[in-house]
Symmetry: D2
Subunit: 317 residues, 4 copies
C-alpha cells in the first residue's frame, strides 16, 4: 500500500535529497510540499523544492509557499552552511513552475481534513507552518497519521549554537508548540551525526555514479561538505533530513526509539531552541515525544545509494 506524505521543508541541500528520496520511491505518494522560512532566502527555497521535483520527475506534486518568517522571533538564514542559494555553487534554479494556490499552513490543514488519519507529515525545516496549521485546526493531531520531525540536539552539542539544532533554533516557539501538541517522532542532530553521516569513500562512490541524482547530490552537498571541512576538519556530509525521511518512510530502519518528555526552550538568549530530553525521567513530566536513538546505519546508506544510483531507494529493502 502506498504511503502518503506531506513534506514541510526549507529546501536547501539535504532537504532536496529527502524530497528526492520520497518522490522517486515507488511505494510513496508525495501529496504536497510546503515551504517554510529556514536555511536560505525564501524564494530560493521555493525554487530549490521545485527543482528537486524536476530532478525526481515529479513536477505534478504541488508546492505551497508557507511562512516567510518564524512565528515570533526574528529570522536568520544559514547561508554560511548551505551557500547563498542552498544547492551549491551556481545552482540557482529557475523552474518556471507556478506555486500552488494557498498558504503552506492552510494546505497542511486542508489535506489533513480531506484524508483524515491517512497522511504522514514529514517536517524537515523550522516548524512555523505546522504551528500555524495547529492554530488553524486544533484537531490536526487526530487528522494526521504520523508526524516525523528532523529537529533538536538530544543531550549533545547543537549544530547552530552549542545548545541548539538549526530547525529548533530558527523557530523555537513553533518547535515548542509542535512538540507539545502533536505526537511527534524526533530524528535529532545527534543521531544524524552518529549515524546519518557519509564519509569520503561514500561521497566518492556517489560522485562516481554519473547519474543525474548523484550529480544533483554532489552539487547540492558541496557547500555543506566544504563547511564540514572548515569547521570540523572532516570530509563528510551529514544527512539529517534524508535520515528523517528514510525513517518516516521505512520505520524498519529504526533500531531503537524511546518515549521521553521533550520540551523546547523558546526564550531568546543562550539556550534559544534548546531541546530538553528527559532521558532519566527526572522532571516528573509525562513522556510526550518519541525519540529515535539508533538506526540501521547500513540499511540507510544502502537505501540512499540505491536512490542515487537507480532512482529506487526501495530496491534493497
Amino acid at each position: 500500500m502506498s504511503r502518503r506524505v506531506l513534506i514541510d521543508t526549507d529546501t536547501a541541500g539535504d532537504d532536496a535529497m529527502a524530497i528526492l528520496l520520497a518522490a522517486v520511491a515507488d511505494s510513496v505518494s508525495v501529496e504536497a510540499l510546503t515551504i517554510v522560512a529556514g536555511n536560505v532566502e525564501f524564494d530560493y527555497e521555493v525554487e530549490n523544492a521545485k527543482h528537486s521535483l524536476e530532478v525526481a520527475d515529479a513536477t505534478d506534486v504541488p508546492v505551497y509557499e508557507g511562512a516567510r518568517a518564524p512565528l515570533v522571533k526574528d529570522h536568520e538564514h544559514a547561508d554560511q552552511v548551505h551557500g547563498e542559494g542552498g544547492l551549491g555553487g551556481n545552482l540557482f534554479p529557475d523552474t518556471g513552475i507556478p506555486s500552488a494556490d494557498g498558504h503552506g499552513a492552510e494546505a497542511i490543514v486542508e489535506r489533513a481534513r480531506e484524508s483524515p488519519g491517512e497522511l504522514t507529515l514529514v517536517c524537515i525545516g523550522p516548524l512555523t507552518n505546522v504551528a500555524i496549521a495547529l492554530r488553524l485546526e486544533p484537531d490536526l493531531n487526530e487528522l494526521l497519521d504520523e508526524v516525523w520531525v528532523m529537529g533538536g540536539a538530544v543531550n549533545t552539542l547543537g549544530n547552530d549554537t552549542p545548545s541548539a539544532e538549526f530547525n529548533f533554533w530558527v523557530d523555537p516557539d513553533a518547535a515548542s508548540v509542535v512538540v507539545d501538541e502533536l505526537d511527534v517522532t524526533l530524528v535529532d542532530w545527534g543521531l544524524s551525526l552518529r549515524q546519518g553521516t557519509f564519509e569520503t569513500d561514500t561521497l566518492a562512490e556517489i560522485e562516481a555514479m554519473g547519474t543525474d541524482y548523484a550529480e544533483f547530490f554532489t552539487t547540492a552537498s558541496e557547500r555543506a561538505r566544504e563547511f564540514a571541512r572548515e569547521q570540523y576538519g572532516e570530509d563528510s556530509t551529514t544527512q539529517p533530513d534524508s535520515l528523517a525521511m528514510a525513517c518516516a518512510l521505512y520505520p524498519e530502519l529504526v533500531d531503537e526509539a524511546n518515549d521521553y518528555y521533550v520540551d523546547v526552550d523558546e526564550r531568546k538568549g543562550m539556550t534559544r531552541g534548546y531541546s530538553l530530553v528527559d532521558e532519566h525521567g527526572v522532571t516528573g513530566e509525562e513522556p510526550n515525544a518519541r525519540v529515535v536513538e539508533s538506526v540501521d546505519e547500513e540499511a540507510f546508506e544502502t537505501l540512499f545509494l540505491d536512490a542515487m544510483r537507480h532512482g529506487d531507494p526501495e530496491r534493497s529493502l
Copy 2:
C-alpha cells in the same frame, strides 16, 4: 463616507458594547467579526458576539471563529472578572446563527486583500488571530487602512497582573508580533481607567433608560461592576473596548496621542505581557506605535449614552 471595520474580539461584556457601538452607527460598516480565545470559553464568546449583533439588529455581519488558543503560551480565561459566560448572570445566548466558513485569521487576510487599504482593524481581544494573519500574509500592514488595539498598561499598574493588561498577558507573543509589524494605535488600560470609566451616576442613568441596548449593557456589565466593587471598592465599570472602538471610529475623540517605541514582553514569568513604552526615548529605539494619551472624556460618554438611549452614537457628534 462609510468607515469599514473588521472587529477582532474575545466577546464578553465590554466587547459586546464595542460591537454594538460599531454595528448601530450609521457611518460605519462592520465587515466581519473574528473571534479569538480570551475572556471566557471560546464557544461562549462566539455566541456572545452573535447575540451582540442580534441586539444591534445586524445579524448579516459574518462571524468567523478564529484561534482557540494563544500563539505559543497556555491560555487562562478571566472568568473571575466577566463571569462564566461573559455577559452577566444568566445570559448564555444560543442564537442559532451559523458561523461563517473559514478561520478568523484567514477572514482578516481575505477581507484585507479584497479591499486593500480600505479596512480598519479594531482589535479588542488578545492578538492571536492578527499575528496568524500576519504570517499568512506578510503584507497585511499595507493591505489595511488602520489598526487600533485595546491593549497594554502604559507605565501603570496592569489589570491582569501588576505588570500586564489582560489582552497582552493572554498572548504576549502575538502582541509582540503585532506591535512590531503593524502600524498600531494603542488604547491602553491606564487610559481606560483614567478616562473610560463610568461611575455610579452614569450607570444609574443608563439603567433608567429602559431601552434594549441599555438593558443589554446593564446585564453585560453586571459582573465586572461587581468585580470592581470587590477588588477596588468602587462602584464603576471600565470600558476599554468601547473606548478603543470609539476612538477608532471617531478619531476626533483623541486629544493627545504620541509615537513611542513600544515592546511587549513575551517571556513567561513575572512580566509576561508587560508593555514597555519608552516615553522619554531612552532606549534609542525608533518609535513604532502610536499611543493615545488622553481623550475627550465627555464626548466619549455622550456618544456611549446616545448609543444606549437612541441606538445612535453619532447623534451628538
Copy 3:
C-alpha cells in the same frame, strides 16, 4: 534618643545631600558609610562620600569601600545623569581621608552584630553590599532595627529604562535578594518624582542662601538639573536619596505607607530591575515590603531647606 544609622551609598549628587542631612542632624548618629558600585566610577564615589562628610564636618565617620561590581550582572554607570565625577562640573574631591579597613559588606555585618537591633540601614545605592552582607550573615534582618531602601519604580515609568529605576536596574539580583529577605521600607522613584522634586523657585532660594551647604547642593545638583532640562524640559531636581533619608530619620514625614508583595525582576532583558508591586493583591503572594505612597511634601522641603540654610534639618520639626 539618638537614631543610629548605617548609610550604604553610591555617592553622587543626591547621595551627598542625603549624607549631609544625616551627618548634620543633632539626633542622628551616622555610624558608617559603605560605598557600592553605582552612579559613577567607584573611586569618585568614595571621594564624594568623604567630601560630603567634610562639608558636614563629620570626618570621624568611617567610610568603608564595598562591592566594585554588581552581584552577578555587568555594571553600567549613570555618568549621563550625574556627570563624570558625580558632584557636578569640576568637583572631583581629593580629601586625603583614608578609607576604613574592611569591606563595606563586612562592615554592615560587624556593626549590626555589635549593636543588635539598634541600627537603621539606609540604602541609597544599588543593593550589592547589602546582599553580600546577607550571605555573610543570614540573621542580618534580626540584627538590624529598620531597613530603608531608595529603589524601584512602583507601577510607573522608571528613570533608567522605561521599566526600571536605576538602583534596581544596576543590581537586580541584589535588589531581589534584599527585598525578599529583609523587612524593607521602599521609597521609590515615582514617589520621588511626585513629592521629592524641587522646582525653579526652590532651587533659586537655595542658591541664594550663600551657605557652604547650599553651595555644595547647587554644585552637586547642577548636572542632574541640566539632565532634567534636556530630558524632560523641566528645570527641577529630584531628590530620591534625600527623601528616603528624611523618611528613615523622621518617619512622621510619611503620610501613607502600605504593605505589598514586591518582587524585583533579576533577568537580563527589557524588564531588568523592574519592581513588581502587587497593589491589588492579585498574585496571591503575601506582602513582604512596606511601600511609602505619600509624604508630607512641605515638611520635607522645610527640613531640606533648614539643612541647607542652618545645617539643622530638625530646626522646624
Copy 4:
C-alpha cells in the same frame, strides 16, 4: 615542593573522598576547608567535612563555615542522591571540632592575600563562596595560583536536570560569575561519568580492603550507589569530586584539555545551570575556561585505590 590547596566543598559522600585524597597526600598541604550550601543540610556538611579530616588524621586543617544559601536563587538539597546526612545510612558525625572563625568567603580572600599566587582553589560544591570572595576581593584571580572546578555538563545530559549538573544548578549565578571572572579549569559531569566511575569489581575490591579509609568510602558511597542502581540500573559510583581533586593535585592525569568559551545559564526555568561550552567556536566569543576532556582513567583508579588501601594516593605516581 608541597602543593597548597583550599577546598571549597558541600561535603557529602564524594566530597569526603576528595578531602581525604588531599589530606592524606604527602606532597599536599590542605590550608583550609570552606563549606557551602549544596548537597545536604548545611550543618551536616560541616560535620561531614570535619569527620573526613578526622578519618584523614588531619583535624588541624581549619574548617570555615560559608554561605548557607545560593547567591540569589532559592536552594534545594540533593538528599535523594546522597541520603539525609550525606555520608550514608547512619553516619551523622558529631565531631565536637569547632569551626574556624570567619566566613568561608572571607577565609578564601584572606588566605589568598596572605600567600599571593601560591594557593590552588579546588571547588567541589556550588560556587557561592567563591563568587562572594570575588566581590570582596576583585583581584582574587591574580591572588590565586589555579582554580579547579567540578561543575557543568559539557554538551551532555546533566545529573540534576536534563540540562544541568548539580553544582551549577544550585547556584547558577555564582557559577556564571566564577566561570566569567576566574581562570577556571573545569572537570564536568560528563567526564566524571565517562572516566570517573567505579564499577562493581572496583567497589568490591575497595570493600574487601578492610582499612578505615575503605570502610569510610563504602559507607559514604552507599546511598549514591543505591541511587545509581535505581536510576540507571547500574551498580557503580561516580566520583566527580575525587576526579577533580586528583586532576588538580596531579595534572599529569589530564590527557586532554582545551580552552573554550564557557557560559552558565543563570536564569530560572528549564535551563537553569546549563553550561554552554562552545566546542566549535561558533559564538564568536573568546575562550575563557579550560575544559578537561579526557584523563588517564587507570592512573586515577590506581591513585584512588592506593589512597583507600594505603592512605597514600601518591604511592604509584
